[in-house]
Structures are given as structure tokens and as C-alpha cells.
């Protein structure tokens, strides 16, 4: 234990206990939500991309962010530089496509996952269940602001 002795005229009259200084300045009765980093990850799904009949196509990007820990992460999505942001971790996004030569609307699944260590992965998955080639006919610019959290668990 560290401390300070109070000395008066050569006689010890008291001892004030002092905690050892470390980086934990305060504590609480409860674990707080602790965010260890924030960063951005982007992905482009280009117009003209083709997905063969019955096949799947994954567009993906990776980003180094936060501590290497199994931690929760939270995302704010932006599409095509809109002024509106979407608070979510997973999106089913409508996209203009041609199935063969027939113009219609398809859906692309977009999500962020902790991939390994401190690497996160943003991916967009198009599943073509049609019997014709699908061509994506609109460009999608995806920007995601990711906030990572220290896991409240042991590791």
C-alpha cells in the first residue's frame, strides 16, 4: 500500500492511504458500454455486374478497426451519398436489375461482420435464383460508419 505519513515534531501521528495510480480512474457498480474505436468502410456494387443463372455473387471489402477482441459492433449505413443514414447492422436493399433482358427489381443483402482479429468485413450478396443471367443496372455506393465495442465478457 502506498501512503503518506503525517509527521509532526518527529512523531508519526497518522497515515493516509493512497491507491496505486493506474489507468482506471473510476469504477461503477455496473459495466458501461465501452467503445474502443470508430471507423469507416466502403463498398461499391457497380452497375453492369452480372450474376449467372442460379449463382451467387459476393462484393466485399475489409477494414482494420478496433481492438482484436470478440466485440459487438454497430453500424450506420449510407447509400449513394444520401443525407439520411440508416441505423442497422443488416439491410435487404432493392436494386434495379435485368433478368435476361427483362428489367425488374432485385434484392441484395448487405451486412457487416467481425471477420477475424480486428478485421471487419462489409459484404453485399446477390443470390440469383432465376434461370437467366442477372445484370445489376444501378450503381450502389455503400458507406458504413462502424463503432466497435469492448466486449463486456471475459475475452
Amino acid at each position: 500500500m502506498q501512503g503518506v505519513y503525517l509527521v509532526s515534531l518527529g512523531t508519526t501521528i497518522g497515515f493516509i492511504s493512497m491507491a496505486r495510480t493506474n489507468r482506471y480512474l473510476q469504477n461503477t457498480d455496473f459495466i458501461l458500454l465501452a467503445s474502443d474505436d470508430v471507423g469507416n468502410i466502403t463498398l461499391n456494387v457497380p452497375s453492369g455486374s452480372t450474376i449467372p443463372a442460379g449463382a451467387n455473387k459476393v462484393f466485399e471489402s475489409f477494414q482494420d478497426i478496433g481492438a482484436s477482441a470478440a466485440a459487438p459492433l454497430r453500424c450506420i449505413f449510407n447509400f449513394n451519398n444520401s443525407s439520411e443514414y440508416v441505423i442497422t447492422n443488416r439491410v435487404l436493399y432493392s436494386v434495379s436489375v435485368n433478368v435476361g433482358s427483362f428489367p425488374t427489381t432485385g434484392s441484395i443483402e448487405i451486412s457487416v461482420e467481425r471477420y477475424s482479429g480486428n478485421i471487419i468485413r462489409l459484404y453485399a450478396l446477390y443470390q440469383n435464383s432465376a434461370s437467366s443471367t442477372v445484370t445489376i443496372t444501378s450503381n450502389i455506393d455503400i458507406q458504413v460508419k462502424v463503432r466497435t465495442f469492448k466486449t463486456p465478457f471475459s475475452s
Partner: protein
């Protein structure tokens, strides 16, 4: 600005009122469900993540919905709900083989609940407040009923804030925001959106949402 500080006594900080973790066998080709009593006197605001690996790499966030339209890509989708007694976790495994599913869930308290809860004891109990981290500063916390029209809450921060939200379904269960359908169609897509002055809670008639619980933080 206050948002640039790791911690500010001008704002309250959110704290965790419950933590649970375990694993179970998710059977291939079907949904495996487990129920865990949470031991709290109220319905907690739960969130969690899961992995088929004990080191949680890769790991994904639990939602309250799965994508049902196609399972041609191997994977696992996990949903979570809470009610007044239990936490329910449902794992749809279409990886092609049985998998051990590792899960971790934590909970916050709704703003309209004032209940005593026990201290949370974990291996991190000596690291409750660490100056290496940022502690989210709550600007506003509350809940809004939702039916057929969206609800807009102003924040006027001048930047897009970080928001946490949970939904209550018509059957009374509570969980994270469902899968968002975009672009958002009025009265259908369940989602929370934000711009530099407002947060909008969209009516989620597809999911039968009756209420959003939310936290708006000054942290961006």
C-alpha cells in the same frame, strides 16, 4: 465538443444490467431454439452476437429476423427476443452440417423501468471504467409507440449521432431492430434512420412493431 471527450459528467452513461453467454448445438437444416431465464423483474433490452467458433471469429450480430427468401448460400442466421421472464435465441442453420453456436447477450434497462438489479460480476469487473475507451454519452433515451406512421425525434446536433434501438412486437417480445428493408417504404419497412437534425423511427407493419425503445447519444 462534448462528443470529443471519452466521458462527460454532463451526460449519463449507459450501463449493462444483464449478461449471459453459453453455446448450444444448432442442427443443420432447421431452426434450433433455446430459452434462457433472465432473472430480471422487467423485459430487458437485449442485444447479442454469435459465432460458430469459440473465439468468435467471425462473429455476427443477432437480429430479430432472418432472410427467408433464399438459403442457397451456406450460413447461419440467429434471432433474439426477450419477454418478462426469458431470453429466446433461435438459430437457423443452413451451413450444411450441425454446428455448435456460441452466443453472448447483454441487456440495458428500458427508460420507463426503475428496478433494482444485482451487480454484474465478470472477469472484467476490475475494468469497469477504462480511460482507453469512449463511454457513450446519452443525449436522450425513451420509447415511442408506433403503429402506421413514422415517429420523428429531433436532436439538432448538426451531425448524425449514434443511436441504439429496440423494437417491441405485438406479442410483447422485445429485441434488436429487425432486418432493414431499403429503400424504406412508408408503413412497411422497419428501420431507424437519422440525419443531422432528427432520428426517425419507421413504422414496421411488416413485423407488427408496436414500440421502439431508443438511446440517442451525442457521440457520432
Amino acid at each position: 465538443m462534448d462528443k470529443d471527450f471519452q466521458y462527460s459528467t454532463d451526460f449519463v452513461a449507459d450501463f449493462i444490467v444483464g449478461m449471459w453467454e453459453d453455446s448450444f448445438l444448432a442442427v443443420n437444416g432447421t431452426t434450433t431454439s433455446i430459452v434462457v431465464p433472465h432473472g430480471l423483474s422487467f423485459t430487458p433490452l437485449v442485444k447479442g452476437n454469435f459465432s460458430s467458433s469459440s473465439d468468435f471469429f467471425p462473429s455476427n450480430e443477432m437480429s430479430t429476423s432472418v432472410i427467408l427468401y433464399s438459403f442457397s448460400v451456406p450460413g447461419m442466421q440467429v434471432s433474439i427476443y426477450a419477454d418478462g421472464v426469458n431470453i429466446s435465441i433461435n438459430a437457423y442453420n443452413f451451413t450444411g452440417s450441425n454446428k455448435t453456436l456460441y452466443w453472448r447477450v447483454y441487456a440495458l434497462m428500458p427508460d420507463d423501468i426503475d428496478a433494482d438489479v444485482g451487480d454484474i460480476t465478470t472477469p472484467r469487473s476490475d475494468m469497469l471504467f477504462d480511460t482507453d475507451n469512449l463511454y457513450l454519452k446519452v443525449l436522450d433515451r425513451g420509447h415511442v409507440p408506433i403503429s402506421t406512421t413514422s415517429v420523428v425525434i429531433p436532436h439538432n446536433l448538426g451531425y448524425v449521432p449514434y443511436v441504439e434501438a429496440w423494437v417491441t412486437f405485438s406479442i410483447g417480445t422485445v429485441g434488436p431492430i429487425p432486418l432493414a428493408f431499403l429503400p424504406i417504404y412508408p408503413n412497411s419497412g422497419a428501420a431507424v434512420t437519422a440525419d443531422e437534425s432528427t432520428v426517425t423511427f419507421h413504422a414496421g407493419s411488416i413485423f407488427g412493431i408496436t414500440r421502439y425503445d431508443y438511446r440517442i447519444y451525442i457521440d457520432g
